[in-house]
Amino acid sequence: MTLFGQNTSFGGTSSVFGATSTAQSANYNPMKDVEVTSPPDDSVSSLAFSPASCPSTFLVAGSWDNNARCWEVQANGNTTPKAQQTHTGPVLDICWSDDGTKVFTASADKQAKMWDLNTNQAVQIAQHDAPIKTIHWVKAPNYTCVMTGSWDKTLKFWDTRSPNPMMSIDLPERAYCADVLYPMAVVGTANRQLVIYQLENQPSQFKVIDSPLKYQHRCVSIFNDKKNNSPVGFALGSIEGRVAIHYVNPTNPKDNFTFKCHRSNGSTAGVQDIYAVNDIAFHPVHGTLSTVGSDGRFSFWDKDARTKLKTSEQVDQPISACAFNAQGQIFAYTSSYDWSKGHEGFDPQKMKPRIFLRSCYDELKPSKKK
């Protein structure tokens, strides 16, 4: 019986989940990047770097092993594990407060926690009726809060001191992905729903958007306008190896477009293998973006020139998440199983999650050709 595709290995050409461990060790780090020490024991769901306000750079990761971990990252790429916190279920998302003193974790145990890094204490700050899939810090001039999106089809805003949410907004479907860049928030849900919220004064629904993609939403990331540095649109990734660049109010309808990515090159056989886009991150300085996919590759793109800047070699596992640090010097990506081939594709003995750091500032410079 075939459960997820024809065979459990990726594609026909290269076996990612190769049978031999030698083959695996050979290409687990084809890009020769710096490996983070003491990685999580199970797949990494999300990565986040500390904000620019932090004197030194920290990386946090949420994992399916129920833990959130924190490393200090030195300029040379050396990492030191600093602390960790535990949920009673897999951690599905993680984010920082703007001052860099706290980390927020969202878990499948239906709780969100606030983790004070100074005291290494974590307290529950949010409760949903179903696993919490997304968590974001909202910093407005007149309020601060934590936004959580859950499979219980609600979006809730918490002031971290009260057990009750400041506000709860019904979503059309289960929350699958979200992003916040004040004053804009976007939530992508199951069954191709997409809602924009504005956060000024207080959060409110701004616009419902017909999905620019044909399949299941997977990740979303807001980008700034180059000139006035305010959020104008978002990049949305789906399971169908495709990303949509979408402006909320396009000056020209042609500003919005989609592009293919994370597909095998086996076009000679007529059919490509198509992989999910697992995460999208925008470079904080250049405004270019990275995508990572179930195919085990990361790619860098210039959305304005509509060109690809770089594609990585294939890592031996799917890349499940990625992040840039605040200065845009470091690109972090994690190779760990993303369940894209179901339980049959899961081999916890062989699949060791890894997190890599890459010096990326120059690689993400915008393309010169227009």
Partner: protein, 440 residues
């Protein structure tokens, strides 16, 4: 980005590195402008041999430029591609971007499945999880296969769905009037049926005839479809009539909720839309209000009248179908009789044709009255009596008329054959209205 000219001719020397779009090909460059549907051009469609107009293989396609038949083909290719390229199997899917989801496919994310696996492992119920996944996989696969090799009935239903999707899209673009409200609507209703499992059961009870195939109990769905505006969503449950437990869970209730949340929108579009969308709205309104009307009483379910609920409805249908009218009313079994149980319900799929017989929708829905009166006067062409009605109603009817008939060139040869013959043959009854030419 432009489609590569050389690729189309079959000899682009840049291959995967080409800057231009290679639809269905392997290049990873930025591609796909809006509305473009890309698919693998390698797929030949034996299954669609009956389809006369083949859309050109390797070019990008604009949905609005296609007739429904071509759209179905594009969709088939899309689904084939889905299967072959080993995409995540549990996803919703749309004919094109910005279109509504096709009925029957619900999103399940990797994380949701994974969490279930972890929970199952913790509870020592892993076999049950595996069984569930296997079941889901089989179910989604069966649906995809059905769409890849659509039977005549499925194809017709698909065409009806796609036409509705396109219509609602056009409405949006021409709209202006509805603006925000409309998009809300599509949004709220998308992918959730108006009527959940309950209705399906009722159907089954009254007709007692088990669905012939996977897509059998389309009646529910198609009824929903007549919503037009709201409809496509409603179809969700239906295309694949007999949803698994999983599906019916997610469907059903949500559908109702979603619609209930939007009462304002409902009202607004129906009142404003009286002219344009009058009749479909009427139908939906009636159904949404919980009126058991159409399929309500099992007792009437025995004959063709049962199918259409009230006598008036039947007469409407006769009016619309012109010539065969007397046959229908008197000896309903002949035309819409037993074989019709499966498919005559599908007739409701056409909003224009049967959307109107709803007196309760009067006032707001001018069209409802118009057609009704036409029907009772037994005239062959509904349009004839329009002149005597209010201008608003006239407009409605005019629009209706265009919906009442299917243009000759859009009918499949199989459908034409059916319309030309004395009797419909079992299993091949067209769900779309005949062309005007058949009704003279």
């Amino acid at each position: 980005m432009v489609v590569c000219r050389f690729y189309q001719q079959g000899h682009c020397r840049y291959g995967d590195r080409c800057w231009n779009e290679h639809p269905g090909g392997g290049n990873q460059a930025f591609g796909g402008q809006q509305k473009h549907i890309s698919f693998s051009q390698q797929n030949k469609f034996e299954a669609l041999a009956s389809a006369s107009t083949g859309s050109s293989g390797g070019t990008n396609v604009k949905l609005k430029d296609l007739n429904p038949q071509e759209t179905v083909e594009v969709l088939c290719k899309e689904i084939q591609l889905w299967e072959k390229s080993k995409l995540w199997p549990f996803s919703c899917v749309a004919v094109s971007k910005e279109a509504q989801n096709l009925p029957g496919f619900e999103d399940i994310s990797t994380e949701e499945l994974r969490l279930e696996a972890y929970t199952a492992k913790a509870n020592n119920t892993l076999p049950a999880y595996q069984q569930k996944v296997a079941q889901l996989t089989a179910e989604y696969k069966a649906k995809r296969e059905e769409l890849q090799r659509p039977s005549l009935q499925v194809k017709q239903k698909l065409i009806a769905v796609i036409e509705d999707i396109k219509r609602s899209e056009q409405n949006v673009s021409t709209g202006g009037l509805f603006g925000q409200a409309q998009s809300n609507n599509t949004f709220g209703a998308a992918s959730s049926p108006l009527f959940g499992g309950t209705q399906t059961t009722t159907n089954k009870a009254s007709f007692g005839q088990p669905s012939s195939e996977l897509f059998g109990q389309s009646s529910t769905a198609t009824t929903g479809t007549s919503g037009g505006l709201f409809g496509t969503s409603a179809t969700s449950g239906g295309l694949f009539g007999q949803p698994s437990t999983q599906n019916s869970n997610t469907f059903g209730q949500t559908g109702f909720a979603a619609n209930a949340v939007q009462p304002g929108t409902f009202g607004a579009s129906s009142s404003t839309g009286g002219g344009l969308f009058g009749s479909p709205a009427a139908t939906t309104a009636q159904q949404a209000s919980g009126n058991t009307g159409l399929f309500g009483k099992p007792s009437t379910g025995s004959t063709s009248t049962g199918l259409f609920g009230k006598p008036t409805t039947t007469s409407t249908s006769t009016g619309l179908f012109g010539k065969p009218s007397s046959d229908t009313t008197n000896a309903g079994a002949g035309l819409f009789g037993k074989p019709a149980t499966g498919s005559s319900t599908q007739l409701f799929g056409k909003p224009g044709a049967f959307g109107t017989p709803n007196p309760s929708a009067s006032g707001v829905f001018g069209g409802g009255q118009t057609t009704a009166s036409v029907a009772s006067s037994q005239s062959a062409l509904p349009i004839t009596s329009t002149s005597s009605v209010t201008p608003a109603a006239q407009a409605t009817t005019a629009v209706n008329a265009s919906k009442i008939y299917t243009p000759m060139d859009q009918l499949t040869s199989a459908e034409k054959e059916q319309f030309e013959s004395q009797k419909f043959s079992l299993g091949n009854i067209p769900i779309r209205p005949p062309a005007n030419e058949f009704c003279v």
